[in-house]
Point group: C2
Chain length 250, copies 2
């Protein structure tokens, strides 16, 4: 079989002594998915603070910027270890390093995008990609009239070279931006080639074996969720209040 399951319990356990300088904290293995999904948000907020020259920040302030409850933020960070100083807060630069390390951003990840249509091109041209450890290693498409085109400085390759590219470029994350009908096939090839992380933009549920992570970005679903709440608001209710940013989780 393959399919199903939402979040996984995350294991925990072993872990030698980290590299951390002095006050290193034992950090337990097993960070909650909900926390993992928020770490990138904290990281972005911290980088903004760092760029503006702020040396330290309290959980209260950082939480405000990140749009979360401060207790939640502290608990999230506590999963990484005790990197704060009571009475003071967290050292911005140090925390950036810790979160980056935890997320695996201290190493580079090669990404291959398949389906260089409207969306694929936008993704390829998206600068924010490389800013954080992600490198677009290849752009692939099945349409021979597109193959060879230069997009964002990269020549589009033919889908048939997927396996070669994955191996040569050591691709670890596959992005699928093809029509839904081709998504499963592309996904299977990625997996067969050894890729175990997939980001899917096609509006369909991919079937994958255990051990493979798939995250989906589905515009249509987002709109439908918004429509649901919008309808509620005008449904006569005075009530409804949804609040701040809701994105993905697990």
């Amino acid at each position: 079989m393959s399919a199903q399951l939402q979040n996984a319990p995350t294991i925990a356990a072993q872990e030698h002594t980290p590299v951390t300088p002095r006050t290193s904290q034992p950090r337990e293995r097993g960070i909650p998915e909900a926390t993992v999904a928020r770490l990138p948000v904290y990281l972005r907020a911290l980088q903004a603070l760092h760029e503006s020259g702020t040396p330290t920040v309290s959980s209260e302030d950082l939480a405000e910027i990140a749009g979360v409850n401060s207790a939640k933020l502290r608990k999230d960070l506590s999963h990484l270890g005790s990197y704060g100083t009571r009475g003071v807060g967290y050292e911005v630069e140090y925390l950036i390093y810790q979160i980056s390390r935890e997320l695996g951003l201290t190493q580079d990840w090669s990404v291959a995008i398949v389906g260089i249509g409207n969306l694929g091109r936008a993704l390829a041209n998206y600068g924010g990609f490389g800013t954080r450890g992600f490198r677009i290693a290849a752009l692939l498409d099945a349409d021979v009239s597109i193959v060879g085109d230069k997009v964002a400085g990269l020549a589009v390759g033919h889908i048939d070279t997927l396996e070669d590219v994955v191996e040569k470029e050591n691709v670890s994350i596959g992005v699928i931006a093809t029509p839904a009908s081709a998504a499963q096939g592309v996904c299977d090839r990625f997996i067969e080639a050894g890729v175990t992380s997939v980001l899917n933009f096609a509006p369909m549920v991919l079937n994958v074996p255990p051990g493979v992570d798939v995250r989906k970005v589905d515009l249509s679903i987002e709109l439908q969720i918004l429509a649901f709440h919008e309808q509620r608001k005008s449904d006569g209710h005075v009530e409804s209040g949804r609040i701040g940013q809701t994105g993905n989780a697990r």
Copy 2:
């Protein structure tokens, strides 16, 4: 104030709703967010079944297609009411109607996209948009060299006409595809103009007042989450198992 919050605490909660004086069975007001987020997935699966001529489907089969546990699916559907027939399953067409109605897709929603750059164009050209009750009412940008261009059959308008457009076209959902630096400003204008649902593609946390829904789509965060798990996999662990599709929730 305004700011904060990530996922909303789910309104549901209180909302006794003494409303329905009738029989007890009917759907209580207050569908769990997690359920709302899955309804669109079920809907899509059902439509595929409908197109292939399938008249009824069991929770087991539908769950398989949607990639979820069948008990979860049944519980989700039970929030809408009892639309299944024991021993048979659910009537595809009827269920499509019920879910559509619940999601508010039986009415049309006008959408305005701001920021017609790489991503904005891809969104505008995205056909799947209109397929389900969503109509792109306007495309706006601040760059005068873009204003006037025809994208997906629509002329790009100037951002200064936002308020007029929202009123004239009765826009209820605003899509932000501008650089992060302009996102909050655009968001504020949308809200000021009366829009209470926003879909944000800019990598930043928007500050909004209560009553306004914001959903974000953040490519960078998705990649970072994948990187986290990818790192775990190679961290020596044999273990890690994340599985099937993970998308947004709440």
